[in-house]
């Protein structure tokens, strides 16, 4: 469904992606792990055209991702994104955040969007927060609203960019719980994360990225339990046993 072939991307003179080739099948959950600055987030941002890429090819169901083409709008409505810092619209209520895309981008009738918006907030456990503005919500609640906002677009896939990294530790579980439910429901997900337990339990596949290349990839349990590559082993040791 999502296909990257030989994707290169530089910021100025620094090449952050040095030939990424990977694919994500429909219904699959793929976790991308790796040290910070390795290019994980850049991959996600290239997939929905928040960043351009210099060489190679990214395709969503065969359609090429080009952030300067008119087709990018259609692609973005099919591939939603959840950000590390939530990026909810602070001047709109939780419900208004959720229905913004359906009403103003997909031109759905307001009544229909509202009904689905409320159902989605209920699905992430925030039915009673529909009329609250984001600054009055905890980080975990904000991120769940952001997930509902992504779902409201009825996307084919959702990209998660370190969705729990900005959260207090006790709030991480709620967000991961919602994501696990999504995975169980068959949503295609690409998740950049440092939550190894989540990757192990929920992901079908794990990609380990370092220095702009995919160092190792495979079924989640085998990459995380028996990493083959020295760099993967070193990274996992430092993440799992920081002391």
């Amino acid at each position: 469904m999502i296909e990257l072939s030989d994707v290169h991307k530089s910021f100025g003179k620094v090449e952050v992606l040095k030939g990424i080739t990977a694919s994500v099948e429909k219904g699959e959950v793929v976790c991308i792990i790796g040290p910070s600055g390795s290019g994980k987030s850049t991959i996600l941002r290239c997939i929905n055209g928040l960043e351009s890429y210099d060489r190679g090819d990214i395709r969503i169901d065969g359609a090429r991702v080009d952030r300067n083409a008119a087709s990018i709008v259609a692609i973005r409505t099919q591939v939603s994104m959840v950000f590390q810092r939530f990026n909810l619209f602070p001047h709109r209520t939780a419900l208004e955040n959720v229905i913004e895309g359906p009403i103003y981008v997909k031109k759905e009738p307001r009544a229909e969007a509202l009904e689905r918006g409320r159902a989605l907030l209920a699905r992430v456990g925030l039915a009673e927060k529909a009329d609250v503005h984001p600054p009055q919500l905890s980080g975990g609640q904000q991120q769940r609203v952001a997930i509902a906002r992504a779902l409201a677009m009825q996307p084919k896939a959702i990209l998660f960019d370190e969705p729990t990294s900005a959260l207090d530790p006790e709030l991480v579980g709620d967000v991961l719980g919602v994501m696990r439910k999504l995975a169980d429901d068959g949503m295609t997900m690409v998740v950049v994360t440092h939550e190894m337990a989540f990757a192990k339990d929920v992901a079908d596949r794990v990609l380990f990225i370092d220095g702009g290349v995919i160092v190792e990839q495979g079924p989640a349990k085998s990459v995380l339990n028996q990493p083959q590559h020295a760099r993967t082993q070193d990274f996992l040791r430092r993440v799992l046993h920081p002391l």
């Binding site: 928040l50 994104m81 909810l88 619209f89 913004e100 103003y104």
Partner: protein
């Protein structure tokens, strides 16, 4: 003091007719400068080289010309090119253009203060640039922009007096006319000053309200 009250009663009606024009000039040029300033600011942040360059150049040209020269140009020079307008029209147009440069810089600062994540979130749900501005960026920028906008309102109220130089009979010109025909300079100009102050006070309070609201966020 008694003389002052007598003069007040005598001159106030004439000065009030000037106040009406002062208010018309101020509101007219405020609206025009807001619209133009928003256009310049949006051109500036559009990310399109030609537009933002044009806007930057335009703002510098406008900023570099004194208001009074701009007014003379519109009222005395434009007729030579076949464009004639009334003094009031020229005053509103001139002040509106002059202040659009300051409005634009203020609006741009407000727009650029919005977190980039907001723009990315809007793009990520497929919003166009125009939708992102209208639905996400501008509503949030308003809060940041309002306090300086209030200050511009006060400055425009006072600078509307420059319209007197092209024969708009607003408050300052009415005052000058009365003073030069009665020689009661002290009474007349004290009265004029007090009337400007009276009109400014609500605006000053408004700015304070805006500032408090912005600080709460």
């Amino acid at each position: 003091m008694q003389a002052f009250w007598r003069d007040t009663v005598e001159f106030l009606p004439i000065l009030m007719s000037g106040v009406a024009l002062t208010i018309i000039v101020t509101i007219g040029s405020l609206l025009l400068s807001t619209v133009l300033g928003l256009i310049w600011a949006l051109m500036r942040v559009s990310g399109i080289g030609v537009l933002s360059g044009l806007s930057a150049g335009l703002i510098n040209v406008i900023r570099g010309i004194p208001i009074i020269v701009l007014l003379f140009y519109l009222y005395f020079v434009m007729p030579e090119f076949g464009v004639t307008m009334t003094a009031l029209q020229a005053a509103i147009l001139g002040l509106g253009i002059a202040y659009s440069a300051y409005q634009a810089e203020n609006f741009r600062a407000g727009i650029e203060a919005i977190d980039k994540g907001q723009i990315e979130a809007a793009q990520a749900i497929g919003m166009s640039w125009a939708q992102t501005m209208r639905r996400v960026v501008l509503p949030q920028a308003v809060k940041i922009v309002l306090p300086p906008y209030g200050n511009v309102m006060i400055m425009m109220l006072k600078d509307s007096s420059q319209a007197s130089t092209i024969t708009v009979a607003e408050l300052a010109l009415q005052g000058k006319l009365i003073a030069s025909s009665t020689f009661k300079n002290t009474s007349v100009f004290t009265l004029v000053a007090l009337m400007y102050l009276t009109m400014s006070i609500p605006l000053i309070l408004l700015v304070r309200h805006f500032e408090k609201r912005a600080a709460r966020k």
